[in-house]
Amino acid sequence: MSHDNSSPDFLQHHFHDVDQQYETAKLGMWAFILTEVLTFGGLFVAYVVYRSWYPEMFVGANLLLDVNKGLLNTIVLITSSLTMVLAVWAIQQKKQKLSLFMLIATFLFAFMFLGIKYLEYSHKFEVGQLPGEYYSYMGPEIAHLNNPHIFFSIYFIMTGLHGLHVAIGMGLIAWLIYATAKGNLHSKYYTPMEMIGIFWHLVDLIWIYLFPLFYLI
């Protein structure tokens, strides 16, 4: 591995220097975050519009969700966000091993999140609280409300898309674990770790909104 500062091997040919490369990557990442926010944005619009049309149904239907599981998932995801940011912090401080450990922890928390989500989903599937036409739950607390299937459509699409992001994030973190263990990422070059970190915090940030919107209010 070359330690020549003028052209280290991780510098791509079309950049002047590592700083330009790093800042370009970061700006690109933030442009990507913007598109992510607006992708979820469309679903937030659907949520707001239907909530304004069916306020009672939304209040009634969110009581069917399991607050404890939602709360547990929130805590898991915030913790994973912390371990992710600590992984970046550790590699900046040349603590490769600590960084690796933090990445593995992040991965495990992400896995836990999906596990809890799976338990939640399978319960919903059992009782017939399904999206759209497949909805069949007419329990006493909801039978008098109009169109609860729309609430569950939005719930499944939003949390499903979020879950998909968690799964993609897990793939990326797995790759980071591999790259860090091999020594490709180090205190001089950790751009991918920081970028994936930003992505992971976005996943956390979106959950921060989803949790109260679906479980609490």
Binding site: A31, L34, I75, G139
Partner: protein, 138 residues
């Protein structure tokens, strides 16, 4: 790369602690009913948490301000999307009232759905009556 800002460990731990506390608060508050304030409180707390994540975990506080601009732009466009859509969906029927609501407020497939208990299993006649009675009120 050595010149990048390195945040002290303590900052991260404090922020994470604040996030946990705010989560606890928002769950605790949700057990009380403040009417329409419920949404405002929940969204206010969520926005505060999101700001902490964005500024500290995502390093926007120390970053090039272009990145912060990009992020704020995304929220601004989302705000535009929501607000302008609500100008329609929230104000239908202002001139001709028959336009305001759908003709059938409940989708047709509910008519053939049996009532269920809390486990999703169908229950018998007794429930059906209360269902029909309720439907008239909505």
């Amino acid at each position: 790369m050595s010149e990048h800002h390195i945040t002290p460990l303590k900052t991260y731990l404090v922020i994470a602690g604040a996030l946990f506390c705010l989560t606890a608060i928002t769950v605790w508050v949700s057990y009380f009913d403040f009417g329409s304030l419920n949404i405002i409180i929940a969204m206010g707390v969520a926005t505060f948490k999101a700001t902490l994540v964005a500024l500290f975990f995502m390093h926007l506080l120390w970053d090039d301000k272009k990145n912060l601009t990009m992020f704020i732009m995304s929220l601004m466009f989302l705000g535009i999307f929501i607000t302008i859509t609500l100008l329609d969906t929230g104000f239908r029927g202002g001139v001709n009232p028959e336009v305001e609501y759908p003709i059938n407020k409940r989708a047709a497939f509910y008519d053939s759905l049996p009532l269920t208990d809390t486990h999703g299993n169908p229950v018998d006649e007794h429930g059906t009556d209360s269902h029909e009675g309720d439907e008239d009120h909505h």
